[in-house]
């Protein structure tokens, strides 16, 4: 029984309760940084780390958190882990840090993290909170990767991963820069939403 719950809590982050596509929280930063595949990887890892750690800590100490001051405590926990990620990225992956820029510190105010702390971890066991954090983080990362893939490929005509070009569209293709700018984020996201809704509608019909 325990096993299935852990698996369920993990897997719900992908489709049933995907933070970006279904809950529609934390969109701002994901639309902004998904113009490159590589950004998606590091942003996904960073957010997942913060989410998992804050979920675990909050689930572990929830017995001692008085109701009236739970939000300030959540914020302290979340902000601490975000700062740790911020410093670590800057020290060990500085080129990535330069590109993700302000969006890393802004994970503090990312709805996903606070929503999971308040809506889930505060009432869950450590084990379930871990599964929830991992699942939500993975679901978020997946969407970022798909968007980053589409936007970078269409917007720049190639895919660059760790300074290696892994995919290239032949020269007559003139990449429209709109895809790597903000309007491209909305276009891509809307198309993904439409696809998901169509898939869901079909499932209901069946």
């Amino acid at each position: 029984m325990e096993e299935t719950t852990f698996w369920y809590e993990f897997k719900k982050g992908f489709i049933i309760e995907n933070p970006l596509m279904v809950l529609m929280v934390g969109l701002c930063s994901s639309l902004a940084i998904s113009n490159r595949l590589e950004n998606g990887i590091f942003m996904g890892i960073s957010l997942t780390f913060v989410l998992v750690m804050s979920n675990i800590i909050i689930a572990a100490i929830r017995r001692w958190i008085p109701d009236q001051i739970r939000i300030p405590i959540f914020i302290i926990v979340i902000a601490s882990f975000v700062t740790i990620v911020d410093l670590a990225l800057k020290a060990y992956f500085p080129p990535v840090y330069d590109r993700l820029g302000v969006w890393i510190p802004l994970i503090v105010v990312n709805c996903i993290v606070l929503a999971r702390a308040e809506g889930y971890a505060y009432k869950a066991t450590v084990k379930n909170a871990l599964a929830d954090g991992l699942g939500m983080g993975a679901g978020y990362t997946c969407v970022l990767l798909i968007m980053g893939f589409i936007r970078e490929l269409l917007g720049t005509g190639k895919l660059v991963l760790f300074d290696v070009t892994i995919l290239k569209i032949a020269p007559p293709y003139n990449p429209p820069a709109i895809f790597i700018l903000f309007p491209g984020a909305f276009l891509t996201f809307a198309c993904l939403m439409a696809l998901l809704n169509r898939y869901k509608a079909r499932k209901v019909e069946q």
């Binding site: 958190i65 008085p66 700062t83 410093l87 670590a88 800057k90 302000v102 720049t156 790597i180 700018l181």
Partner: protein, 179 residues
């Protein structure tokens, strides 16, 4: 009252634990971060003045350094056998735009290299590409260095183009003070 004390104590304990954790992380990463920043800066400075062998930061000459720092945006000056290199930090389109500009002993710009930028990829970043920055080579303080006059803006990146032109003007202004 008792309740407030209790809540305050809990918050304080959480805050203390968080502060200790952050302090440790900061101590571990500080050296790496500073070393990287210096490395990037030095690399860009050398690239801005072709042929230069060694550079030294202008600091012992305090009077001069102070005067130069009055030019808004000029953060550091390096002296070398081939001329001066200015580290200039001003606002671009996407945030701070930091460049190193090398000015030769003849008063001509020798090169511009980017230390850090947050300009839009594909638009503003085109202004900062080697071939575009090379157009500034040979400019002196007699040139107007205005977008639309002697410098061409990159399509879709007027603000970044203007920012770079302004930085070139500042470098030459600072050079005139030193000379």
């Amino acid at each position: 009252m008792k309740q407030i004390m209790r809540l305050g104590t809990i918050l304080m304990v959480v805050g203390l634990v968080a502060a200790v954790g952050l302090g440790l992380t900061y101590t571990v990463t500080r050296e790496k971060i500073e070393a990287y920043d210096r490395q990037v800066e030095a690399k860009a400075a050398v690239a801005a003045l072709p042929g230069v062998k060694s550079i030294e930061e202008l600091e012992e000459d305090k009077e001069l350094a102070r005067k130069v720092s009055e030019v808004e945006g000029v953060e550091k000056v390096f002296r070398s056998d081939k001329g001066y290199i200015f580290k200039i930090n001003t606002k671009g389109y996407g945030g701070p735009l930091v460049v190193a500009i090398g000015v030769g002993l003849n008063g001509k710009i020798q090169g511009i290299s980017v230390i850090s930028s947050r300009e839009t990829m594909g638009l503003g970043s085109k202004v900062l590409e080697e071939e575009n920055l090379a157009k500034y080579r040979g400019k002196t303080s007699d040139d107007p260095l205005e977008v639309g006059e002697d410098v061409q803006a990159v399509t879709g990146a007027t603000i970044t183009s203007k920012a770079v032109a302004a930085q070139a003007r500042k470098a030459l202004e600072a050079y005139d003070i030193i000379r």
